[in-house]
């Protein structure tokens, strides 16, 4: 966890009315953390929300998971794709609806932004899988949600956020640095706040909070994967996240993820292929 400075604390008070997760999803987060929960228990909670059920099933049946037969109900989805996957899908669907849906006006394209987030998720999953990380599913979700703090910034003060993006473009400095300077807080810290409020699992919260690799601290494969995926997707111009700072994967992350030029090429080839399979996640933004 990143300890906020006094200044940041003060700035954070501007964001004290954080959006809350829908009851169904909050309940999902809670029951999946209990090891005695069964697929049927989870089914009973998710099925209360028909729209959510429909979207989760559509994603579960997408090429991204590639299960050879049709999955027709939540119980099946849980027993086949796993408890974590379904929890993460429910979470992603809800967070997208709350935080990524395009608004009428604005200079920030939520469509391109979501595209960036999906690409980072897919890429983080590939990277974490290569080093045998215990939950590649969480890497995917951490990637999807890593920039959630930007949505919050944009929603709270659109003009200020756009000004930060402009400043980043002009000075070629990292967006988070500019945010800290101008707003006293950056999107990673805000994202961490949201994650805390939503009771997200600790590893997801850590990845959201630390994806720029601030400070020394021990590096874990999930944080490193999201960080490297963020850089690779920006370099490949997959989507747009408003950041014009330097693109460089931290050496510690390169080492932990066993990346070199050749490995990166392999990852990018796989990314291109897997992104096609992840098409269903992009459809979110077309009001599906």
């Amino acid at each position: 966890m990143v300890i906020p400075t006094a200044e940041m604390q003060k700035a954070l008070t501007r964001f004290k009315d954080l959006p809350t997760l829908p009851d169904v999803v909050a309940r999902v987060m809670q029951i999946v953390s209990n090891p005695l929960t069964t697929a049927e228990d989870l089914n009973q909670v998710i099925s209360l929300d028909h729209a959510l059920t429909f979207k989760v099933l559509r994603l579960a049946n997408s090429a991204y998971y590639g299960f050879p037969k049709e999955i027709t109900n939540i119980t099946q989805a849980v027993t086949i794709l796993g408890f974590n996957t379904i929890r993460n899908l429910a979470l992603s669907v809800s967070v997208h609806k709350m935080m990524f849906v395009e608004r009428e006006k604005g200079l920030f394209s939520y469509r391109d932004f979501w595209k960036h987030c999906v690409a980072v998720g897919v890429c983080a999953r590939i990277l974490s899988r290569r080093v045998g990380y215990k939950s590649e599913e969480n890497a995917f979700t951490a990637g999807l949600l890593h920039d959630i703090g930007k949505s919050l910034l944009e929603r709270v003060d659109h003009a200020a956020f756009i000004a930060c993006i402009e400043a980043s473009r002009e000075t070629k400095r990292a967006l988070w640095e500019v945010e800290q300077e101008r707003l006293g807080v950056d999107h990673a810290a805000l994202g961490g706040r949201l994650a805390e409020n939503w009771n997200l699992p600790g590893d997801l919260r850590g990845a959201i909070e630390r994806h720029h690799l601030p400070g020394e601290g021990a590096l874990d494969p999930l944080v490193a994967s999201v960080h490297a995926a963020d850089m690779l997707c920006r370099q490949q111009s997959l989507g747009m996240d408003g950041d014009f700072g330097p693109i460089e994967i931290a050496p510690a992350a390169m080492k932990l993820l066993r990346l070199d030029e050749r490995a990166i090429k392999e990852v990018l080839v796989e990314l291109e292929h897997r992104l096609k399979e992840a098409e269903e996640f992009l459809k979110f933004s077309r009001g599906a």
Partner: protein, 391 residues
């Protein structure tokens, strides 16, 4: 107005209740951990590949009450799963198992590396009758991995609905399957090392036979005959194996005998014979230096001792000569009599048998001669089938 003490009491009561729940949870966790530990230990105790697989099926029965099971092994080259073991598979169930193999579910599960539950693909659509209904039947697909690589997959038919398994049930299965994966990897390594050991022994035996032109296949035959006799005496498998390897290596000391003596045409002088007699001690000296061959030293050192005490190197007699060496002495003598040598032509099997019988109580232990006679037919057969083998 409510008495504040009543509130305190009820608050305390609710605390106690919570504590009791936590305690019960901990007790259950402890019991499960103990069970898991015990089952893991059981699986880890298996040394051979097939034993690990058999134990895994037995052990899982304590965790899930399955009706039938098929264990598949993953073939890395073809990427296919092949059935290796099965338990209680009825013709009706076999069809269901078959469907999962064919429709790609099993390979998909293996790729996920995570235990998953499938609804019964029985009559009609596979999705029927599984919804909120907890009855019926399901299949648990448990991948077996070793260091993250697929080794196999366990398909279990269980008599409960797919939605009724908790995360803990599934992770318990996964942990045991992973333990089995590690054990399988160990068994594979153990079996490979073991094969290396046997190969090295054969190579060493071959080195002697290659130098001594008249003794091609000699060591191998002595080993085979010795094993036949040892089995007839109902000795345990470890002992029989000692005789097998001792037989292969009994003449290893001949590596240190000069060529002009070892391959001399005609009879050896007394001095030359003294040198030749040194081969058993030489061989024992070589084996003493190899930890894993140490147990063969007595067999090699004493294989020329005679029951009547007139052998070498120490002139031991009767039961003072180690049993393995007494067995090898009979096997070695019979093989030599019935093969061409520098100093004699091969005699017939019957002549060989007669010679062995004649020397019972003299050169040979009568009990071993008795066992030899009992398995003579088998040995004669071994002699025929190993004739003309490669040097």
């Amino acid at each position: 107005m409510a008495d504040p003490r009543d509130e305190k009491v009820s608050e305390l009561e609710s605390h106690i209740e919570t504590l009791e729940q936590i305690n019960e949870g901990l007790r259950q966790s402890f019991e499960e951990l103990s069970q898991l530990y015990r089952l893991s230990e059981t699986i880890a105790s298996a040394l051979t590949f097939s034993r690990v697989l058999t134990l895994l099926l037995d052990v899982l029965r304590e965790v899930v009450d399955y009706d039938a099971a098929i264990l598949y092994l993953y073939d890395e080259r073809s990427g296919a799963l092949r059935p290796n073991l099965e338990k209680a598979v009825t013709p009706e169930l076999r069809q269901r198992f078959q469907v999962q193999l064919q429709d790609g579910s099993l390979v998909w599960a293996l790729k996920q590396g995570r235990t998953l539950v499938m609804a019964d693909s029985g009559q009609g659509s596979w999705t029927q009758g599984v919804d909120e209904d907890d009855g019926g039947r399901a299949f648990l697909l448990v991948p077996i991995l070793a260091r993250g690589k697929p080794v196999g997959l366990l398909d279990l038919a269980v008599p409960s609905g797919p939605g009724s398994f908790s995360q803990r049930d599934l992770s318990l299965l996964g942990i045991l399957a992973n333990q089995a994966g590690i054990s399988l990897e160990n068994a594979r390594l153990y079996e490979a090392v073991r094969q290396d050991y046997v190969d090295v022994i054969h190579a060493l035996a071959g080195a002697v036979d290659a130098r001594d032109h008249y003794t091609r296949e000699h060591s191998n035959r002595v080993s085979l005959y010795g094993v036949a006799i040892a089995r007839r005496l109902r000795l345990d498998e470890a002992f029989v194996e000692g005789v097998q390897f001792g037989g292969l290596l009994h003449d290893i000391g001949k590596i240190g005998i000069p060529d002009m003596i070892l391959n001399k045409p005609g009879r050896l002088t007394d001095d030359e014979f003294q040198v030749m007699k040194g081969h058993s001690a030489l061989g024992a000296g070589l084996l003493r230096r190899v930890e894993s061959l140490n147990h063969l030293v007595p067999l090699v050192l004493y294989h020329h001792e005679r029951f009547d005490g007139r052998g070498y190197p120490e002139g031991l007699s009767g039961k003072k000569i180690p049993l393995g060496a007494r067995i090898l002495n009979v096997a070695d003598s019979f093989e030599t009599i019935t093969s061409d040598r520098v100093y004699h032509r091969a005699r017939s099997m019957e002549e060989g048998l007669a010679e062995i019988q004649r020397c019972a109580g003299g050169q040979f232990d009568p009990e071993i001669v008795e066992a030899f006679i009992q398995c003579y037919d088998e040995i004669a057969h071994l002699r025929d089938s190993s004739r003309g083998g490669p040097a």
